[in-house]
């Protein structure tokens, strides 16, 4: 127990020193949804992190995530009574999801190589996530055909939580894994073939530091 507390104490101590400056970071990469196994959604995440406080004792930061959607494809079957047309046709179903999340989190980290200011960090986050799904059946003749059990558009906003594990290297570059929970909201009573997205992201980016504390600058000059 004492060992555990010692490790935890060291962790917090180092993490405070790493987060002792204000910064804005911008990162992007690739995101894969882990909720929809049949038709997994991919996206290009754009993440902006802003840590406004420079004090040692405040690792609070804000993060805005937007996943630039890449449409996923499924199929649907449509039927008609019109005797001059085929009784049923298979349609290509295009589902375009959009995910926007505003997070608030705390960054905890420690130096791996203090001389190069390389550090490892973990960010637990909570936030509000808005997910919308736009469904379109391609080449759908809706005058003559009816899609069976059709998917429809959906937009919901809900609480989510996430965890980020990353590495800051070469002073200010970052590589980061981001895993996000599913939404607390329900999809409603009508069954849809898709689930809310739980993105798993791999991001690369750059951190723009500003408002550094004197102690931090001195250390930087020393090296």
């Amino acid at each position: 127990m004492i060992k555990l507390l010692t490790v935890l104490g060291c962790f917090v101590l180092f993490s405070l020193s790493v987060s002792a400056q204000s910064y804005v970071s911008l990162s992007t990469g690739i995101s894969r949804d882990v909720s929809n196994n049949a038709v997994p959604f991919y996206a290009i995440p754009v993440t902006i992190q802003w840590k406004p406080f420079r004090k040692y004792l405040n690792g609070l930061f804000f993060e805005t995530d937007y996943d630039i959607p890449i449409a996923g494809y499924s199929t649907g079957t449509a039927y008609t009574l019109n005797p001059s047309l085929p009784a049923s046709v298979t349609l290509k179903e295009k589902i375009t999801p959009s995910v926007f999340t505003q997070f608030m989190g705390v960054t905890l980290g420690w130096y791996i190589d203090a001389s190069k200011r390389n550090s490892f960090f973990i960010n637990p986050l909570v936030g509000i996530c808005d997910q919308s799904f736009s469904v379109k059946y391609e080449n759908y003749d809706n005058k003559n055909y009816e899609v069976l059990n059709p998917d429809v558009n959906l937009e919901k906003t809900s609480l989510v939580c996430a965890i980020e594990i990353g590495y800051k290297f070469h002073n200010d570059f970052i590589a980061m894994f981001h895993a996000q929970s599913g939404m607390l909201a329900t999809k409603g009573s009508y069954p849809l073939s898709y689930e809310f997205i739980s993105p798993l992201q791999l991001n690369f980016g750059y951190t723009f530091n500003y408002n550094k504390q004197a102690k931090s600058r001195k250390r930087h000059e020393k090296y």
Binding site: Y79, T80, L81, N82, P83, A87, S88, N142, E146, V147, L148, N149, P150, V152, S189, Y190, P191
Partner: protein, 206 residues
């Protein structure tokens, strides 16, 4: 104090009544306003246009109908014919899909079948499309359609097209089915009809 107790008990009863209320399951089709989507979930919902006006099977308030509450059930009944055939009638009540529907009627989709037609034969119709107005349809003010055995003087009879997209017999001997229909009855045109039924055994009479 007595009033508060009264309100509390009434509130609890209303809450309990609301808890067991069967769902309406009327999910709007964005392409056909007033109609439900074409589904196969056993929602017991049927919608269609009659001369462009949306109709739906009514919802029976469980506070009045008890366990019979929910979407009005259809029936599947084979009526005896005088000749070598019988008539199979898939019937359900309809009313205008408005907040305050004023009148109700019945739609009967009618198929001429052999005398030895069984529930299994009906299930075998799954996936079949009956077009070119080869079937009968009637809109009547009571449950029975027009034929030689059951005469409803108010019934209008016409021709219809039916597509049984899927029919399955369930383990409880109920039959679930989904399909499309349209028809012409007198001067009335029935269009964009679709049904998603789960018919309990008690309402299947072969």
């Amino acid at each position: 104090m007595k009033n508060i107790k009264h309100y509390f008990i009434s509130g609890c009863l209303l809450f309990l009544a609301g808890c067991g209320k069967p769902p309406r399951n009327l999910y709007s089709d964005q392409d056909d306003p007033g109609l439900s989507r074409l589904t196969y979930y056993g929602y017991n919902i049927a919608t269609n246009y009659i001369n462009g006006v949306a109709y739906v099977n009514p919802y029976n308030d469980p506070n009045y109908y008890g366990f019979g509450g929910g979407n009005a059930n259809p029936s599947l009944i084979k009526y005896l014919g005088k000749g070598a055939t019988d008539t199979l009638a898939l019937s359900w009540p309809i009313e205008e899909n408005t907040q305050s529907p004023v009148s109700s009627a019945y739609i009967n989709l009618l198929l001429i079948v052999p005398k030895n037609f069984t529930a299994s034969n009906f299930v075998a119709l799954s996936g079949q499309r009956f077009t070119n107005n080869t079937n009968d349809i009637s809109v009547s003010s009571n449950y029975y359609f027009y034929n030689s055995n059951f005469y409803d003087s108010t019934a209008l009879v016409g021709t219809s097209n039916i597509y049984f997209i899927d029919i399955q017999e369930r383990t409880d001997s109920a039959i679930s089915m989904t399909g499309l229909f349209n028809g012409i009855v007198g001067n009335d045109t029935i269009t964009n009809g679709r049904f998603d039924f789960y018919i309990p055994k008690a309402l299947i009479r072969f």
